[in-house]
């Protein structure tokens, strides 16, 4: 399979997945025994006004039609309502939230900074902590330090993040009054406040996720340290420090970086629980708001956006591997 064809196939898959995800989301929420038009009906509501609202929101059309409008809108933009007071949703239009009176794309853009700040900071932190601990454990294999780190890693994996997060808020936020307990300050407004508000969520997310990286790094390192070329390097008299950092760690890094790319992609799509626990108005919070209000356009838009990021992260990793390793293109395995 040529590289071009490989890329084309992966892209087609991406489009297919996004279409399916958006359709499923539409279908499921249309089945829901709740009427989004009721939101827009006002108080007191009359059956006539309900009809008007339904027609305006396009809810009187079939699911397939509604979904198709959505798909078209992504590429062409959409216009709602009458000429006198039309509502424009410029492309890429991920729908228009009538409950919020705003294009979904705009709402997501407004929230993405929060999610990105949360995700990137935490990811950097857990990469450093996780890889560091894993490398140390591997080099000190079999020692008490190694066992301690690995038990710590399992413990970290087992702790529910919301529990740790909330306890962190209570301890560092309220009892010790060291860090702010909630809210978000945009980076542009004040970089210091921005970081200060994010310290706690970063730490919680990172400490729990680092465990996975610790384990992965350790096992990869052990494998590399046992490999022939490392033995050769040692035999040539290269210092142990150099062996570890230049050779073992570098090679062990490939799967770690892969995992990192995927994790980061997933986090960028929004972290429902972390954002909830720390009152962070990110994409995950937006999704929960949409669920709470049965705001179908917002829901579908955010779902598709999130799915897109996740799928793109997958795609990116696949492509990089595909370029690096022709066997992947043939459908083989990397190992």
């Amino acid at each position: 399979m040529t590289l071009v064809k490989f890329l084309a196939t992966r892209l087609a898959t991406l489009v297919f997945v996004l279409l399916t995800v958006s359709f499923l989301t539409y279908a499921l929420f249309v089945l829901l025994p709740a009427d989004p038009a009721q939101l827009a009906c006002g108080r007191p509501c009359t059956p006539e006004r309900l009809e008007t609202a339904r027609a305006f929101m396009g809810l009187d059309r079939s699911v397939v039609e509604q979904w198709w409008e959505f798909v078209r809108g992504v590429f062409t933009g959409r216009t709602f309502g009458s000429a006198g007071a039309s509502i424009d949703c410029p492309r890429p239009c991920l729908g228009y939230s009538f409950a919020r009176n705003a294009p979904v794309t705009e709402l997501i853009a407004g929230r993405f900074g929060v999610t990105a700040s949360l995700a990137i900071g935490a990811a950097v932190l857990w990469l450093v902590v996780g890889v560091g601990a894993g490398a140390v454990a591997a080099v000190r294999r079999g020692t008490a330090l190694d066992r301690g780190l690995m038990i710590g890693a399992i413990t970290g994996v087992s702790a529910p993040s919301y529990l740790v997060g909330l306890l962190g808020i209570l301890l560092f936020g309220f009892t010790l009054d060291m860090v702010p307990v909630s809210g978000y300050v945009p980076f542009a407004q004040s970089p210091v406040d921005w970081a200060w508000h994010l310290v706690l969520p970063w730490s919680v997310l990172a400490l729990l996720s680092a465990a996975v990286y610790t384990r992965l790094t350790r096992s990869q390192m052990l494998e590399e340290l046992g490999s022939p070329y490392v033995r050769t390097a040692r035999a040539k008299g290269i210092t142990e420090r150099r062996v570890v950092t230049r050779h073992a760690l570098r090679n062990a890094a490939i799967p770690v970086v892969t995992l990192f790319a995927l994790d980061l992609g997933a986090l960028l799509g929004g972290t429902v629980i972390t954002e909830r626990v720390f009152s962070m108005p990110g994409v995950g919070a937006l999704l929960m708001e949409a669920v709470g209000a049965t705001d179908v356009p917002l829901l579908v838009g955010v779902t598709v956006f999130t799915a897109a990021i996740v799928v793109i992260a997958n795609l990116a990793v696949d492509v990089v591997y595909g370029v690096l390793d022709p066997r992947v293109r043939r459908g083989g395995r990397t190992r």
């Binding site: 898959t13 399916t20 413990t155 992965l216 995927l262 972390t274 395995r333």
Partner: protein
């Protein structure tokens, strides 16, 4: 299923790179290579894993005997005891109302016995944890089998199913499905199904890989040549070879499923009250922490303990199966979500 898709994603996915690397470690080499005897010997040397196993079994026993335990002690998780509460609805007395009558204290606002709630809550956790795992394993094994065995368009369809599954926000669907399902449909079963159906992608991938390897091997081709039906080859010849893999995979999937139930209940979309659930108790208890920290202690420890026990055991099991002893680099589904 995980709530924040980071978990979901990272569990081996469509990517050729991440999980597949690791899964194949268990899948391809481990089980086949290690005899049962040496497996137990390895496992017996891993004290951490053994403790995990013992604790997990203890949890299971408590869950099985929960109604007997509570009845013997004369408590139940449903009866209100408003006399055990102060005027504000917080438990009367220190330490969350711990007394001879209420060993773990009482729940604020209701006065229900917290010991009974925690003990009976183990049933919810384990039932959903085990049930969802069984669903995942069933679906994943069957799809992995057919994908690996038939290849071609079947494989393609399964691969796309996995792709879509990763793209769907599990939590949103759980909420929506909960609302769409008819009111008579048992919520516990619904929870089992949804968590299970969001969690089969990794096992499917592993099974697929193994089946592809087996298919290439001699005995499957020999059977086919002898005219054995596909069903016969698949279920009589291929499937038995996968048993160990599936068992190991199931073990390490359980804590994730337990964590998902707790997380959903924490978010208020899990098991409906008054059925006890640790996740819901934790969600409630967190708001009471400054007034009644003991309320958080027991459900929190119970959940953490069972997740840790299964993780420790599963981890030991995997290490024992991997003769290289490096520990697996596979990323497990974690308890709860971030």
């Amino acid at each position: 299923m995980s709530l924040d898709r980071s978990d979901e994603l990272v569990a081996p996915t469509s990517s050729a790179a991440s999980g597949a690397v690791a899964d194949s470690a268990v899948a391809d080499s481990a089980v086949a290579a290690v005899g049962r005897v040496s497996l137990w010997r390895r496992l017996a040397r891993d004290r951490f894993a053994l403790v995990g196993a013992v604790v997990a079994v203890a949890y299971a026993l408590v869950a099985l005997a929960a109604p007997l335990i509570t009845r013997a002690l004369g408590v139940d998780p449903y009866t209100y005891d408003l006399d055990a509460l102060g005027p504000t609805g917080a438990p009367a007395g220190p330490l969350g109302g711990i007394s001879a009558e209420h060993w773990f204290g009482v729940e604020p606002l209701t006065g229900r016995d917290l010991f009974a709630i925690v003990v009976m809550g183990s049933r919810t956790s384990l039932l959903v944890g085990l049930g969802a795992t069984v669903v995942s394993m069933l679906v994943g094994t069957v799809l992995g089998l057919v994908a690996g065995y038939f290849g071609g368009w079947v494989d393609w369809v399964v691969a796309r199913l996995v792709d879509v599954l990763i793209g769907l926000p599990a939590l949103v669907f759980m909420i929506a499905v909960g609302a769409v399902a008819p009111e008579w449909f048992p919520r516990l079963l619904l929870l089992v199904l949804v968590i299970g159906l969001f969690g089969w992608s990794s096992i499917a991938r592993v099974v697929r890989g193994q089946v592809m390897a087996l298919r290439a091997s001699g005995f499957v081709r020999a059977s086919q040549a002898l005219g054995a039906s596909h069903a016969h080859v698949l279920f009589r010849q291929v499937l038995p070879n996968l048993a160990s893999t599936v068992v190991v995979f199931a073990t390490i999937s359980i804590p994730g499923a337990i964590g998902s139930e707790a997380a959903l209940s924490f978010l208020g979309v899990g098991v409906p009250p008054p059925t006890p659930s640790w996740g819901r108790s934790i969600g409630d208890a967190v708001t009471w922490f400054s007034v009644d920290p003991v309320y958080l202690l027991f459900p929190g420890l119970a959940l953490f303990g069972v997740t840790l026990a299964f993780n420790a055991f599963g981890d030991g099991l995997r290490d024992a199966l991997d003769p290289r002893g490096g520990g697996s680099n596979r990323r497990r589904r974690r308890g709860g979500a971030r």
